[in-house]
Symmetry: C2
Subunit: 331 residues, 2 copies
């Protein structure tokens, strides 16, 4: 089949790249939130209230208008939600993840590809924005499905491996007044953020945050009562396979009373390259390939579980493409 | 007229942003050049010959394949030009300009919009990549039109205001064995690069490079013989209008024997925001708005010339959108 080449694709790609940056900026500045809440934003007021440079804000809004993410209102300097606002709003965290979390990596992609620059395997990334973006999309695309799964079995003490900002634990603690929780993260920035959010929520008696590497945990008396483990978007960090098997087996010793492990992660899509790949997937797979990190496929996960001392009894849908929650039970 | 909202625009924008980064990387690494030259690239050989990390290079190629910029050959690890290769190749400098020259600015767009972060009006930009990108697109989209214009009137001594890498002067010197040339640039990185390229080309007797601000030039004996001035993509730096008028008038004193000034610059498009804006324009206008720099329209330029002691006698087409060469003559 002959397909006529698309003319001026360069223009579409170029303008879209600018839109991606503008969406991230509008996300960070709270413009998208304001539009979602009131359907309308007065950019002079918004700039004044938030101490922003008006002409920069106008430039961002102008890009959003170009893509019908917002549109000019009848009144000067006021803008409504545009025809594609909802789609962009619901995916805004992915843009933050790409342009802020991994923006420097993508910008320096050529340099990072040169072997002599890969000293100590240094890969630039901003853990704070990755945690923020992950929490933002988690709220929109994962949390309700996760909670449905979680509440199917009773639990009293949970651990979140790779807890990021700790917000998931905090929200759960609010819903379950008896719950005790532990958060573990490898990033000291994330741990600092999580500790302060736990204090703010007045949960410090019920939620404890540790800085540690989930791949190399040692027993702790605090871990003894844990009955339920969960983990979001960190599972692939445990690979390659033999490492992952021994880490999962180790969890049985580290958390001797844990009977359930809800493991939520993105798996390799196996898709043939195409610009029609769903959002997030092309970015996730490209960045992990550059970092030299294997992303297991669904099949690879399924082949691994029988060796891990955990049995996969179910899988739950989430809205992030090529992502699932494995419901694992201690064997 | 009712237009149905485009579904999943978020995916298109997200994937395109990744494509923009990958095009820049493929440009920098010479992959696009290799594909242009041989229509085929073996990525294992290419990685070996250039000391590149193969899996990162594969990830970049994978993104290019997603957008049909290249496509897999019958042989493993070999790739041909894809259906849109030519369009992307001919515009590759714009991507370098955006993601490398202004990549940090775009990544930090939200922070830069916050007034308290705009101390000393610091705006991140990488002059080296801006010069490289500008030279790359200049060769493809400006040079032939410029030379046609230039050779309409005889010249013996030229000055390039904002000479960047100096390559335009060097190429001209090769074509005109009697030519003397002067290059002036405000960026010390550019001046350093230009001086070394002039030496490499063995033109140091005929081309002199000065670091200076074209907006504030002082007379020099070297300037006395200049009969022709030209300047590329720097004209808007002379604005606002009153400044520009006095700078242009000043050139008459600084270069007393210059009768002709070929001023090539991008002007404000005046376009209503739309994703169908031609390549470069949305980026150029957004970035200059964020930097607080006015981009004059064609009309504003035309209204200015009568006050400048330069008469505009002609305008030449170039392929960069909303860009022109003004042919100015000393009054």
């Amino acid at each position: 089949m002959y397909t006529a080449p698309r003319k001026h694709l360069s223009k579409d790609i170029f303008n879209s790249a600018i839109a991606a940056y503008a969406i991230s900026a509008a996300n960070e500045l709270g413009v998208l939130g304001e539009l979602q809440k009131y359907n309308c934003v007065d950019i002079n007021d918004f700039a004044n209230n938030n101490n922003l440079d008006v002409s920069s804000l106008k430039a961002i809004i102008n890009v959003l208008c170009s893509f019908e993410i917002c549109r000019p209102a009848e009144v000067d300097n006021c803008f409504y939600q545009g025809s594609v606002f909802e789609d962009i709003y619901n995916n805004q965290g992915f843009f933050l993840w790409l342009t802020r979390g991994y923006g420097e990596l993508m910008q320096k992609l050529a340099s990072i590809t040169v072997k002599s620059n890969r000293i100590n395997n240094y890969i630039p990334q901003d853990g704070r924005y990755i945690a923020l973006a992950s929490r933002q999309q988690g709220k929109l695309m994962v949390d309700t499905y996760f909670e449905t799964a979680l509440f199917e079995v009773s639990f009293n003490c949970v651990v979140d491996l790779g807890c990021g900002s700790g917000e998931r634990l905090i929200e759960l603690a609010k819903k379950c007044p008896q719950l005790k929780g532990i958060g573990i993260d490898i990033s000291s920035k994330a741990v600092e953020l999580a500790k302060s959010l736990v204090s703010e929520a007045n949960c410090q008696d019920r939620i404890t945050i540790f800085r540690d590497d989930m791949r190399n945990l040692q027993p702790k008396k605090e871990f003894f009562d844990v009955d339920t483990i969960f983990s979001f978007f960190s599972g692939h960090d445990m690979w390659p396979k033999e490492n992952c098997v021994s880490i999962l087996r180790n969890f049985r010793d580290i958390f001797p009373n844990a009977n359930r492990f809800l493991l939520c992660d993105t798996y390799s899509s196996g898709l043939i390259p195409s610009s029609q790949i769903p959002i997030f997937t092309l970015g996730f797979e490209t960045i992990h390939a550059v970092m030299g990190q294997h992303i297991p496929s669904l099949e690879e996960w399924m082949n691994l579980f029988p060796e891990s001392k955990w049995r996969c009894v179910n899988q739950y849908y989430v809205e992030v493409p090529f992502c699932t929650i494995f419901d694992l039970r201690a064997e």
